[in-house]
Each structure stands twice: as structure tokens, then as C-alpha cells.
Symmetry: C2
Subunit: 219 residues, 2 copies
């Protein structure tokens, strides 16, 4: 397996000792055989370390959720997504009342259930509070467009996840989708911004006003 | 200004010495007066440190771009966005030929200009390579939905930026939009995923198989 994946033998042994990777089947006192499932798990660990930037301890937590077959899929998905999600860039502190209200109203408009105290709802409210503090509370005006885009992405994520076979496969693809999806969206957002900025400000800086007429898709 | 912003006087002095904040107007040997522009700049620095997680050195670079009025707006926008963008989570290494081709085809389909070697195009290709390495190259199937969502977000970003007054204001809002926008989208994506997952897998786990017609999407 070391040869096939390029991961050194001592590293593989270390993952086994840490409980991240099941032990292989001993074929002789110092030779173990590892199957496809092992190999995929090993690649997943390497990816969470590399692409995901997670610590080994955190990876252990994520995998223990992935491996817990007693829970309903919806719950597992949420837990895996929460474990893999990057910590919010916006620091602690209580969000303002106004920001909380804005989040509640958004949830209402979109038919989302975002109970007070839910980690993502709170993180969103803190981000809006931060915008307020910076004199940019109008940035909240972008919320609905963002939310619509987020629904589109989530739909693609779940369609991808749903196309996988076994539960193991499903949860592994949630991990992949969260980690790589964030990176993918970040790159695409910047490319799209550059395109949009070029359209508005580019070519001799002439179009600074640009219509927006017609773009009112109402939702 | 220290009283109004809650930032201690020695910290303000430190920012002035580091060239991040212009010196105030001396009203007496040990008293300086700071105007609105100072205060907004100070809040911006605090936000880049806090919400943005940037180092003081990096903040200095970003502000020097914001303050360079000799460049066309489109170029400034790109530079500021690039400086503020979080480093890609996906590590180095050369992207695969296939991933490069996928990015080129996407750009073609959407009418984007993504020249080979552009940082965001490369980052995107590296993300796709990573997905391939993990046996998840089909995740690239989500690209168009992601790209469409990214265009929607970029449009909202630029509409926000374009609504600001002075060039200073425009560039400051690019910084805010990049940093807070990433956090905002991250939260919204996870909320929308939970909603979508609930719709598909929730309520007694009945829909676990959901359409996709067998899921046999090749490979």
C-alpha cells in the first residue's frame, strides 16, 4: 500500500497506532495486507491533512463520525460538515440584536430552519455584526443573492453526495465536498469577480455606472 | 479616537509608526486630532486583523494598494482581492493536464478569460487534481453549478462595491466584501446544505436513494 500511495510505511503504521486506519490483515509476522477500503481511507486522511489542513486529532474525530453507522444519515451529514468546516474567520463576541434579526428574517424568507444558537446562524450573525461595526451594514443587502447562490451550491453538493453508493462513500464525499468545495468556490468567486469588475470598470474605465437593468430576478 | 473606537492609545501610535495609519494633526505637543477618515482606517485595520486574520505586514501591503490612486480601478480591485484572499487550502504541486483542461473548458463555456498561469485558475486546477487523486474526479461535475453561483455572488459583490462613493470607499468595500463575504458564504452554504440534506434524508430517512437514476455515472 505504501508503494501504491506513496505514503511511507512508518507513517502508515503511525496512523494504524493512532486508530485512524484499521490494521491490515497479517500475512506474515512483518507483512500486512491492505485492501481497497484501507487505501481509500489512507488517501482520505492525507487529503484531510493536506487540502483540509486538519490536525490528526481533528481527523480522528471526523472519521469516528464517518464510522458511526448507528446514526441517521441526515444527522451524520451535519456532524461531518460541522467537523470539517473551517472555523469562522470572524472572531467571537455576541452578534448585535439587529444582526440576529436579519438572520431570522432571511431564514423566514427562504423557509430555512435556523434556530437561535445554531452554530452557522450565529456565525452568520457575527459576520453581519462585524460589517455593522465597520460601517458596512449595507453589505447585508447582498444576503439574498448570496443565499440563493448557496442554495445552488448546496444542491450540487447533495446531488454529488447522493450519487455515491455506500454510506461510507456518502460520508467520505461529504468530507471531500466540504473541503474541496470551499476551495473550489473561493477560486471561482475570485474569477467571477474579476470578470464582473472587468465588465464594469475595464476597457478604458468607461462603464463605471452599468445598468443592472433587467437583473432583478426577484428570487 | 481611542475612546471612540476602544483601541488603546499605544496601539494607535504603533499603527502610525508602522505607517498603517496616517499621523493625526498635532493640536498640542502630546495631543493629536484624528478625523473620520482616520477612524474608518483604524476600524479597517482592526477588521483585517480580526475578521481577516491578516498579519500587520500583509495589512500594510493591502493598504498600500488601496492608497495607490495612480492605478485604474479594475486593476486595483484585482490586486486588493488577491491580497486579501485567503491562501488556497489546497497545497502546491502541479495540477494534472486533465484538471487544466477542465478549467480551460469551463472558462470557454462561461466566456471567462482565465489565462494559463493565473493564480485563481491554477488554484482551481489544483483543487480538481486533488479531487482526482482522491478518486473523486466526478466532483468536477458540480463545477458549472458552482460557477453559476459564483457569478451570482460576484454580481452582488460588485453591485455593493459600485454603490460606494469615493475610490477609497470602493476599495475599502472590496476588502470588506472579500473577507466578510467569504465568511458569510461559508455559513450560508452550510445552512443550505443542512436544509437540502433534511429535505432528502430527513423525516424518517425515507428518501435515502433519491433520484439520480441509479447513480451509475461512469468510471
Amino acid at each position: 500500500m505504501s508503494r501504491r500511495t506513496g505514503v511511507p510505511v512508518p507513517t502508515i503504521k503511525y496512523y494504524v497506532r493512532e486508530g485512524l486506519l484499521p490494521a491490515g490483515e497479517l500475512t506474515s509476522p512483518n507483512q500486512a495486507s491492505y485492501g481497497d477500503a484501507h487505501e481509500r481511507r489512507l488517501r482520505l486522511i492525507r487529503s484531510l491533512l493536506g487540502a483540509g489542513g486538519l490536525s490528526l486529532a481533528r481527523i480522528g474525530e471526523v472519521l469516528s463520525v464517518v464510522d458511526d453507522t448507528s446514526q441517521p444519515v441526515h444527522k451524520l451529514l451535519g456532524e461531518v460538515a460541522g467537523a470539517v468546516a473551517p472555523p469562522s474567520a470572524v472572531g467571537g463576541g455576541e452578534p448585535s440584536e439587529k444582526a440576529r434579526r436579519t438572520v431570522a428574517e432571511l431564514a423566514e424568507r427562504r423557509g430555512w430552519s435556523v434556530p437561535p444558537g445554531s452554530p452557522d446562524g450565529d456565525a452568520l450573525a457575527r459576520t453581519l455584526s462585524e460589517a455593522e461595526r465597520l460601517g458596512h451594514e449595507e453589505f447585508a443587502g447582498a444576503l439574498d443573492a448570496y443565499a440563493e447562490a448557496a442554495e445552488k451550491v448546496a444542491e450540487a453538493d447533495l446531488a454529488y453526495v447522493g450519487g455515491r453508493g455506500t454510506q461510507d462513500d456518502v460520508l467520505e464525499s461529504v468530507v471531500i465536498g466540504m473541503v474541496l468545495g470551499d476551495a473550489m468556490f473561493g477560486s471561482l468567486r475570485r474569477i467571477a469577480q474579476a470578470e464582473e469588475s472587468g465588465r464594469i470598470y475595464g476597457v478604458g474605465e468607461k462603464g463605471a455606472g452599468r445598468g443592472r437593468g433587467g437583473g432583478g430576478s426577484g428570487r
